[in-house]
Symmetry: C2
Subunit: 650 residues, 2 copies
Amino acid sequence: MKAMTSKTYTVLFTPEQVEVQVESGTTILAAAAQAGVFINSLCGGDGVCGKCRVIVRLGEAQGGTTNHLTRVEIQQGYILACEGRVMSDLVVEVPPESQLTSDMLAEEHPAEQFAETFLMRTHVPKLDPLVRKVYLELPAPTLENNLADLERLEHALSKSLGTQEFQMGLKITQRLATLLRSSDWKVTATAAYRGSLTEITEVECGNTSRCNLGVAVDVGTTTVMAQLIDLTTGGTMGIASRYNSQIRYGGDIIRRIMHASQEEGGLSTLQQAITGDINSLIQKLQQKFRLGCADITTVTAAGNTTMMHCLLGILPDYIRKEPYVGAAYCPPPFRAAEVGIKINARGLVYCLPCVSSFVGADITAGVMAVEMHKSDKLTMFVDIGTNGEIVIGHKEFLVAASASAGPAFEGTDSHDGMRASAGAIDHLQIYNKDRLLSFSTIGGKPPVGICGTGYIDLLAELLKNGLMDKRGKLNTTCGSKRIRSGEHGQPEYVVIRARDSGRGKDVVITQADIANMLRAKGAIYSAGQVLLQSLGYTFDDVERVLVAGGFGTSLNVESAVTIGLLPDLPRQRIQFVGNASISGAGLAAVSRRKYDEAREIAQSMTYFELSTDPTFMGELVSACFFPHTDIQRFPSVMEALADGRLSKEG
Amino acid sequence: MKAMTSKTYTVLFTPEQVEVQVESGTTILAAAAQAGVFINSLCGGDGVCGKCRVIVRLGEAQGGTTNHLTRVEIQQGYILACEGRVMSDLVVEVPPESQLTSDMLAEEHPAEQFAETFLMRTHVPKLDPLVRKVYLELPAPTLENNLADLERLEHALSKSLGTQEFQMGLKITQRLATLLRSSDWKVTATAAYRGSLTEITEVECGNTSRCNLGVAVDVGTTTVMAQLIDLTTGGTMGIASRYNSQIRYGGDIIRRIMHASQEEGGLSTLQQAITGDINSLIQKLQQKFRLGCADITTVTAAGNTTMMHCLLGILPDYIRKEPYVGAAYCPPPFRAAEVGIKINARGLVYCLPCVSSFVGADITAGVMAVEMHKSDKLTMFVDIGTNGEIVIGHKEFLVAASASAGPAFEGTDSHDGMRASAGAIDHLQIYNKDRLLSFSTIGGKPPVGICGTGYIDLLAELLKNGLMDKRGKLNTTCGSKRIRSGEHGQPEYVVIRARDSGRGKDVVITQADIANMLRAKGAIYSAGQVLLQSLGYTFDDVERVLVAGGFGTSLNVESAVTIGLLPDLPRQRIQFVGNASISGAGLAAVSRRKYDEAREIAQSMTYFELSTDPTFMGELVSACFFPHTDIQRFPSVMEALADGRLSKEG
């Protein structure tokens, strides 16, 4: 007798042309996950975010109507993938704005952009990688020189590295005698840093010391980036990035933590997702440079505290519960294989240290990379990401806060926002009273949405051109044809008309989007303000503002000041330093001293809890103006807005 | 079609009553190994040693005649187990002298004998075990005290241990958060010493710090001894020992090395044999004291260089090939599970360090235990085992040599010799012109053979009573009824008549046995002589002679001097210190400082190669007299022999 089974249907996803068999009733989002097709989904399938719009081209899918779709869209076959259920064979089109392609950003934005940043120009550490390969020509033993094989090796390595204490696995110890003799006492030892102890992780015949590679990884909530480093020169060979596959389980950190804590096997799923991403990036870089897996001896990783927990398979649940304490901020190195990362079988993963639940290893790495901890100058380090972390200090002290800004500038929280991938508008200027818009897109592709840097430019331009007032309200009476009444009667500004867009739909910024970003920029600015105040400083005391962010493209500092995201200081004090997290991870890979420095930084950094500060709420409210309620704080912007000088004529 | 198969027969071994099915043509020795019945075999089955005599009581076994068996014996059914092949169902009796029972020596000779030795009385180290269990009541995290779980634990442990650097496995890190909270922040951390680094190997709920046990192991070529230590007090709970099961693959070190190097899977077989022995001893001690496996966190091991290699599964082949260099003398700690020893899943095995191929960790452990390296007094340390190692020195220097004495005093190389197990004559005196012999046996059992200490007494008594001359020749003309012509016409001395023995056969010492022991004692004495000479000393300069040996019972120092095994010095300078190897291993288990000291000792000790010294052969020949060619060197013995004072009248 056959057991009763539900019907199975075939779903074909376009444009990727991937087919999958699923049971009747499966959601399209689940079918896509099974097929390996990435669909943008921030809420993890709750029908809340409305990001996972797909078009059913053939067949029948069951699914309710939703505020996120218009009547016309529903008639065109649009459905939310998380709500639509497969009830027949289907052909499903994933429109560009819903695609989570795994573009290699770095191929669009060459690695040089990183090499040319602030960081690489100023700080080249002494080459002393966490994992070193040392070629040794050992003296063959004689009756007079009769050290045992292991001690002979350690003796030579000691001379070369200046370290005394060694550790070695049993398996290598067991094959050492045969290996040394078969290689005529000419071997390459791989020596991994474990503080005062050095682990000999590998011994190979002959001279393989030229092949020693490390991978620095920035584990972003949204994007995972990997940098391949030649550890024998310290040089970057290539950079690759892709979306964090965990996105399908939720766009923000809290949803990820919930998934890890509350779903059966959730933590393991998240860990497999992120290690899978890292493995895929490593594999791509490997293939590109025709490298063997065994040549990669080191992975250094930085990311926010939750991502570091997920990477290591450590439950992040307590991060979100008072008193907000993680399980491990300074974990020791682990065997990569045990973590699930495919490099040399005995290679190690070194995690950079976190400071607190909401100030992660990405911030430590960034501070280390920009050398705040060594600077005489009072510096403000701002990382514009999902949280928006601020660090203030110099060589004498470091204080950090997390602004909980939300992911507004990651382009994921707004109507036509998108991540910095192909077709995203990344820079924009409004000319001629908004009759002409000049913009650039990532990869030079037709525009399909707006990413973080694009939004910052857009807001500044709207403000400067009087299309939006200081409270962030679109000026519906200024006569601009681009301002119209959108869904639910809310005003919106049309950036790109459907005919010019890459997705056959207008690209707009809505009143709600602006409100979102106003809160986010307000949170970041006021976090800096309150932090400074608590330390007895004002913005004027800040000698350097270093802005970090994985925008994938350079931030327009002028725009950021104009909207009040950054303080109105002489512009030479403000620098954009790019993805400082991966820079820091890379520095640690090539320098043991840097790795140790990062740990010292994490230990010395003080975490300042904004939410319990009595002045923060007031400052936040005041900062929710473009550029600020107290316009006196932004004299250059005030002046520019007053004389209309910035309002360009085409 | 059925494949052709050879016939299968059943062999029943008595007195153990163990049955086994083997194929026709299998040797009885192989059948016994398969059945788990231990049969004495020194040559590993080459038909050379003649030790593996068994009696076929029923059935047919094929096997040649041999010099090792008399005609009468052959008629009685005696056969060498290594030569006899199973040609029918058999009943095979293993006579007492061929039995390798796994008696627990320590139960016959209570543990106090060790506790009462020289060692324990003088040197009680500060309790600081290699693996410590520390109970911690951590402060629960608050918004103010928001260290992560791991750092909170490390911080508390740091205070308690005074160490700073920690290492922890991924699995423990992963379950730390849940464990700390479920135990209300009251946990016990297990901290294992790895030099400058401390590995946290375990974290348990509540206070388990009272359960922390270590096992010190002396891996002897012949006997494996294990000492269970309460690491929370440093006290010895119990001692157990058994034969090294590797004996079935050869009685001496060279045969073991050959087996490891030349037989398919030989190394692995030897490793499994020794780890099996250690596991069985640990299990017995565990059961006796009703302990869980997980309570044992530490194993410290000492043994000669070959045994240490076999224990770790490292090929010992290069030890026996010029320039005689081992693979690892100072290995790092390894996970016990990886080595194959069953204790706590993350427990560690710490090997004491070897000095050279022929001066092993047993010697380092011994020197450390007797504190030669701290003494102002010029000391000679003599370990009477298979090799016979000598160390001379004091706190300024240590020089060691291996005498290659052979296993004469282990009682395995002689006609009726046996190891120090039940029924072995361990002490003996001759009275009344040899009409009366007084002796003691191990376990008070009827005598079945003679062990090392028994032979030393016997030789001294034969010499003092004029029954043997200084060249070791039995005095066939003195009228003693015990001296007779034995096999092949060689003289032999009857120690026990068949009617009084526990095996229905005379127990004798043959002329060949005496020659063997003469060479062995000559080698040990002359090694000491040449070593001292090379350093510009004579025996008179030696302020202390410390004699170590796993005899299982105390050595009669007077007898040892009488036969010239030990120099004729004022007796108060000579002390028997027992099994110093296991004492040293035990000290290391309870003291990190002692473990480090052992490594310093091994590094500072100089190995002196006797075989290439031009004076050694001459000295060896001169020493092959009882007590010595140059009788002036033994004034007290000369005096005693001259006035016949020592020849007792009954």
